[in-house]
């Protein structure tokens, strides 16, 4: 290990130890006798929680120290540190993972759900920030990515790009911040629920038929032909089993239910297609943002205004991404594509609601349609009642005024 590398390593360990001291003293104070009564943390339960928490913390720290010892003992792993200007990528990533895990553990102890959720988001943002720092270091120091030297700037950039998306997708779904990506994920949940419900619906038959199992796998991948074959085979088995038992006309795949299932499957395929189109646009914008950042960095470096700290680079990075995505969002084509994806999800949900209503209609269970009918009636009754109550109140007011007028005359 070069001298500078050793210094970095020592400095790192010292940081960790100071960190633990600070952590210990600041958090212990919360539970110590005579601490600030306002914090309201003096209950026995809190003490127990704190003791348990600190124990976990200590265990974690010991485990971490052990892993570091092992790491140092393995001389082959020390090779990357021979170049004193770098911290090995894997080690850094492992370190980040360890922090992530411990933060997850501690975060779960935060009592307030809002604070807990915010802490969780902070931890994930910290991970993203740290991962980006690693990329930044690679980019600037010597173009080395993942500890491997490439020949020429073009290869380095290509490698950096690959790593960029690899790191980003680890923390960002679709290369986007979590909250934003949730839009897609939430929409995608409709498809997942659809798949799950479909699986549950056919489970009894799929479980007993390997052929149906195989066909159903293709169905879930959006193969319409497989769906038709599956339905045909399911019909045969169904009629030999539950269909015969229940002997209810119109329940088979030739009846109303099958028609609704087919319609729902069409909606599913359309939804998947819309989602893919939408994601293609999002991915492309991710690449555009990265290229834009590279260009901007070149310009700044040419002007000797390149970021002097990682924080400056990070600010440049997220602002550049924000700007690039907002440019996409402002386009008419995005508005249409987004609307189409949302609409395809809504159509799928509607179709599947129909399927579930048909299935449930066989049993003495209230369907959504039944409930809607009740809601509508209650809504109308309330509305009528309010209207009548208002009329009555107005009449009473008029009567009161009339009485006052008449009384006034009598007095006068």
């Amino acid at each position: 290990m070069g001298e500078e590398g050793t210094n970095v390593w020592d400095s790192w360990r010292q940081y960790q130890e100071r960190l633990m001291d600070t952590w210990n003293s600041s958090v212990s104070a919360l539970w110590s006798d005579g601490s600030d009564g306002e914090k309201g943390t003096k209950t026995e339960k809190d003490r127990e929680m704190w003791q348990q928490w600190w124990k976990v913390q200590e265990n974690y720290y010991k485990a971490w120290q052990d892993s570091i010892k092992n790491f140092q003992a393995d001389k082959s792993l020390l090779n990357p540190l021979a170049d004193s200007s770098k911290i090995p990528v894997q080690m850094y990533q492992d370190w980040l993972k360890a922090i992530q895990n411990s933060l997850g553990l501690y975060t779960s102890l935060v009592p307030d759900p809002v604070a807990r959720d915010a802490m969780d988001k902070m931890a994930r943002s910290f991970n993203m920030y740290s991962s980006l720092a690693l990329l930044w270091e690679n980019f600037f120091n010597d173009g080395t990515v993942g500890g491997e030297k490439e020949n020429g700037p073009a290869a380095t950039i290509k490698k950096w790009q690959e790593n960029y998306f690899k790191v980003l997708t680890e923390y960002f779904t679709f290369g986007l911040p979590e909250g934003f990506a949730d839009i897609v994920k939430k929409s995608g949940e409709i498809a997942v629920i659809y798949q799950q419900n479909l699986t549950d619906l056919f489970k009894p038959w799929i479980a007993s038929s390997p052929d149906l199992q195989e066909q159903f796998f293709h169905v879930l991948s959006g193969d319409r032909e497989a769906w038709l074959t599956f339905l045909k085979n399911w019909q045969k088995i169904y009629q030999q089993s539950y269909g015969k038992l229940l002997n209810i006309p119109g329940i088979g795949p030739t009846g109303n239910l099958a028609g609704k299932m087919l319609a729902s499957f069409d909606s599913y395929v359309q939804y998947v297609s819309s989602l893919n189109g939408f994601l293609a646009g999002i991915y492309k914008t991710g690449f555009d943002a990265m290229e834009g950042l590279s260009r901007k960095m070149d310009e700044l470096r040419a002007q000797s205004k390149a970021p002097a700290s990682f924080k400056e680079f990070y600010d440049l990075w997220w602002r550049n991404n924000e700007e690039t995505y907002l440019q996409l969002f402002k386009t008419e084509s995005f508005g249409r594509m987004f609307s189409e994806m949302v609409d395809a999800g809504a159509r799928l949900k509607k179709r599947f609601n129909d399927v579930m209503a048909s299935v449930l209609s066989l049993w003495p269970i209230a369907t959504q349609k039944d409930m809607d009918s009740v809601y509508k009636s209650i809504y109308q009754l309330k509305k009528d009642h309010r209207s009548e109550a208002r009329k009555t109140e107005e009449l009473l007011d008029r009567l009161k005024r009339l009485e006052e007028k008449l009384n006034g005359r009598e007095v006068g």
């Binding site: 600070t22 952590w23 009592p111 902070m122 600037f140 949730d182 960095m297 402002k330 508005g335 509508k376």
Partner: protein
């Protein structure tokens, strides 16, 4: 592309990353000491309730409040306690300290049983009933109305339909003219196929609405603000402010489907309100019926409701006493920033107090809008932009 800077050593980013980690861990200590994120603390009492809608009356903070009560109407999206996040940053509290007598509507959380609620149920029903409840308890024919965001749109529609019940109208960051494409919500909503969405969901999930708002600033709202707060995690006041806002942001009620359908179709897509073509409960909403004093407040950097959507209101109404206040901030900052607390809320309170003298017997030909010479509102400089005044 050059890759030879070489000047940046790992110590730098390691130092930064470790500093952040330290702050994160300290932050957990702060978070654990927080038992609950308290919002909506200004004392108030429930005075009226209809279904899920609740009307609250805040306890006055001066001996002789402004004689005309003020009803605040918040949007259906998100919760009304944005106006009272905490005591140092509370529009409500500022209003009370400035002498206003404040009522506020809480729309509640609609569930599937509310899917058929239409916009007329909110405006002709709940809002009108709340106004009547205040008129009855105060013994006044007219009260002051302040609408926020979508609640501002509702208040404008209400004032056009019931001008005889409103003494003064205040709108804050209210979308009125939907023809603009300045905001992403405006351009996206034009393509939204609302019928399938409402039919499929009944009540549009709050998460769907909220994530749409996050998309307006994806990296800032989903990443950078969390990185930013790490720097302040050792500051309990900053953490409390941050968590109050987080609580509010992610506390998103669903939208009753029928009301949402009409809001999107009639307003975002067809822009009927500014054309005086919008109908509600069989009546046309004519903005020219708005003749009471009007104060239109908007934020200059509003990314949700751009000024181009709010500003035109003053040109569409018949009011002779009308004014615009614009504040250099965003849609939320206008309520919670310390600067807004000092400037916007007091300016609104003064404007209302000046026009809320006790009702006099009307003399034919006398101008209805009067100025109080003995307003309980303190007369400090306000520091907000004004234009469009025409008494």
């Amino acid at each position: 592309m050059m890759l030879d800077a070489g000047a940046v050593k790992p110590q730098y980013w390691l130092d930064e990353a470790l500093t952040m980690q330290k702050k994160l861990l300290q932050g957990i200590g702060t978070m654990i000491s927080l038992q609950d994120v308290d919002v909506d603390l200004t004392p108030k009492e429930l005075v009226f309730q209809l279904d899920k809608m609740r009307l609250f009356h805040y306890k006055p903070m001066v001996a002789n409040p402004v004689p005309v009560p003020l009803l605040i109407v918040y949007a259906l999206v998100n919760r009304q306690y944005m106006m009272d996040l905490h005591q140092e940053r509370s529009v409500i509290r500022t209003f009370l300290e400035q002498g206003l007598d404040v009522y506020l509507i809480d729309w509640g959380y609609p569930d599937q049983s509310d899917k058929y609620l239409a916009m007329e149920d909110y405006i002709d029903g709940y809002l009108n009933d709340a106004v009547d409840a205040i008129r009855k308890s105060s013994g006044l024919d007219k009260i002051n109305l302040l609408g926020v965001c979508q609640g501002g749109t509702f208040s404008v529609i209400y004032s056009a339909l019931y001008p005889g019940k409103i003494r003064n109208l205040v709108t804050m960051v209210a979308p009125i003219d939907f023809s603009t494409n300045d905001g992403l919500l405006y351009s996206w909503s034009k393509y939204l196929k609302i019928d399938n969405l409402v039919d499929a969901f009944g009540v549009i999930p709050g998460d769907f609405m909220n994530l749409g708002f996050l998309m307006l600033k994806p990296f800032q709202l989903s990443l950078d603000k969390y990185v930013g707060i790490i720097d302040n995690l050792d500051n309990p006041d900053a953490v409390r402010d941050f968590l109050s806002m987080e609580k509010w942001i992610f506390d998103s009620p669903g939208q009753a489907g029928e009301a949402f359908r009409k809001f999107i179709k009639d307003l975002f897509q067809e822009n009927l309100l500014v054309q005086n073509k919008m109908e509600l409960g069989g009546r046309v909403v004519d903005l020219q019926k708005i003749d009471m004093p009007l104060l239109n407040v908007f934020a200059e950097q509003d990314h949700l409701v751009p000024p181009a959507s709010s500003r035109p209101l003053n040109d569409l109404v018949a009011s002779k006493d009308k004014e615009i206040i614009h504040f250099p901030g965003g849609h939320i900052g206008i309520f919670v920033s310390s600067s807004a607390q000092k400037k916007v809320a007091p300016a609104i309170a003064r404007w209302l107090a000046d026009r809320s003298a006790p009702e006099e017997k009307k003399v034919p030909g006398k101008k209805e809008s009067t100025r109080s010479k003995s307003s309980p509102v303190s007369q400090t400089g306000d520091g907000v932009g004004r234009d469009g005044r025409s008494d």
